[in-house]
Symmetry: C2
Subunit: 267 residues, 2 copies
């Protein structure tokens, strides 16, 4: 169903109004996907889509969407100027969609049924959308089975995090748990070996051998992982030059996943 919108106040596209302001107050079970790359991942994912809003120049994309499983989903087409007024800024590529958040999965539901050599990321207190997006991008690239987060982490389905992840957020299942302790006990229940990346970690990453289920924990760059948490897991460091032991947390996740997944036996 393709509908042309000429009035920016048309109630059918209400969900696209003032995107940036709405980013801040939340969307009640919905999220915004923007741009060609994220949309392409969204179309292939199991996420439900509520509607699409495309600029006139994306009419070919509209036809393509009609040929997918989303052929019953409303597609709204607007002139670029109308679209920009709806959204509140210039949408260069003219591609937006509103997706529905799936019902929340408990961490036990998420971890049950993962393979015996599953790799899971545990994120604690990561509240920068670039970093969260970058970590999901790396997780998708290296085939991470799931990501578990504490409530201090920012929302991976936030528009910017989703964009930075180039859709990785829609590919890697995730679950949010109240705090680090609940997270750790759930992973132990499911027989995960617990590793925490830290500049002061005892084991050098390059000497690490992994087998079985592995959970890899990352904390924010400044404070890092809480000491009480670190005391109960194996700590791992990446060897660097003296006096500059400073990698971005998303880059750290990429390096650690590269090392861990290459030492895993092939499935």
């Amino acid at each position: 169903m393709i509908t042309t919108i000429s009035d920016p106040d048309d109630p059918r596209i209400e969900g696209y109004h003032a995107v940036r302001e709405r980013d801040l107050v939340g969307r009640h079970g919905r999220f915004i996907a923007e741009g060609e790359v994220v949309l392409s991942v969204l179309l292939q994912s199991d996420y439900e889509v509520e509607s699409f809003l495309l600029s006139e120049k994306q009419i070919a994309l509209a036809q393509h969407i009609r040929a997918t499983k989303h052929n019953k989903t409303p597609i709204y087409i607007a002139a670029q100027s109308v679209m920009d007024r709806i959204v509140g800024f210039h949408i260069h590529r003219g591609i937006l969609a509103i997706g529905k958040r799936p019902s929340t999965k408990s961490i036990d539901e998420l971890l049950t049924g993962l393979p015996n050599n599953a790799v899971v990321l545990g994120l604690l207190g990561l509240c920068n959308h670039d970093n969260i997006g970058g970590i999901f991008r790396n997780a998708a690239a290296f085939g991470v089975d799931a990501i578990v987060m504490d409530e201090a982490c920012c929302d991976p389905l936030y528009r910017k995090a989703l964009r930075v992840s180039v859709g990785g957020v829609l590919k890697v299942p995730f679950s949010v748990v109240t705090n680090a302790d609940d997270l750790a006990s759930a992973l132990k229940r499911h027989n995960f070996r617990m590793l925490a990346l830290s500049p002061s970690g005892k084991t050098e990453l390059e000497t690490l051998t992994t087998e079985g289920r592995t959970a890899l924990f990352l904390g924010s760059e400044g404070p890092g992982l809480p000491e009480t948490f670190m005391a109960n897991v194996e700590t791992v460091s990446i060897k660097m030059q003296n006096a500059f032991d400073s990698l971005n947390v998303a880059t750290t996740s990429g390096i650690a996943l590269y090392q861990i997944t290459k030492s895993l036996p092939s499935v």
Copy 2:
């Protein structure tokens, strides 16, 4: 020399006016360093500093600077509100400095005298300041000896790139060359083995062994490295999951440097 500034139009702090606008038009041989981390690297580097502009709350930092080799450099102190008006936006940490660009080093000057197991990054067409900054950060972390770039790359001393690099730009020597051909011929002249990272690279990174001088080339994420260039070097890929062969270029540099520097014999 510590001087209090109360008039935002004081000619002595003219260089700090309208920082964002000036970012765009250039600074005639100068650059802006902002924040505690970058300033700390700047103070330890060989870069000349023209002046410092600090908010009143940074008086202890001003005293610290006077105790360094920069004790002859003007330090201007302003109330936060005056500082914000000078700069044109809120300078949260209240720390700025103007550094002087060193006279340009030719690539031959840069490469001469590097050790026999030197690792050099070659950057082609990277015009995103986050990526350039992230690459310099990783280069500093893994002890890269030098970075060489073509003219299509953006300026690493641009304020944002410098900030993202957490000062790495001030630690890793770099040189800019007109184009990829000049870059490649200089590296060959200096006996560098030439490797290029690409999703379609022939050698898998994890099987790579390096000895002697190594140059590692990175291109922008979309177009990648030019095919004519790739034809004349060894190409290397990072093994990823099917259908998501997509790592950010800065993350790619981190993974490749991790692998290459760990396989190098210790100096």
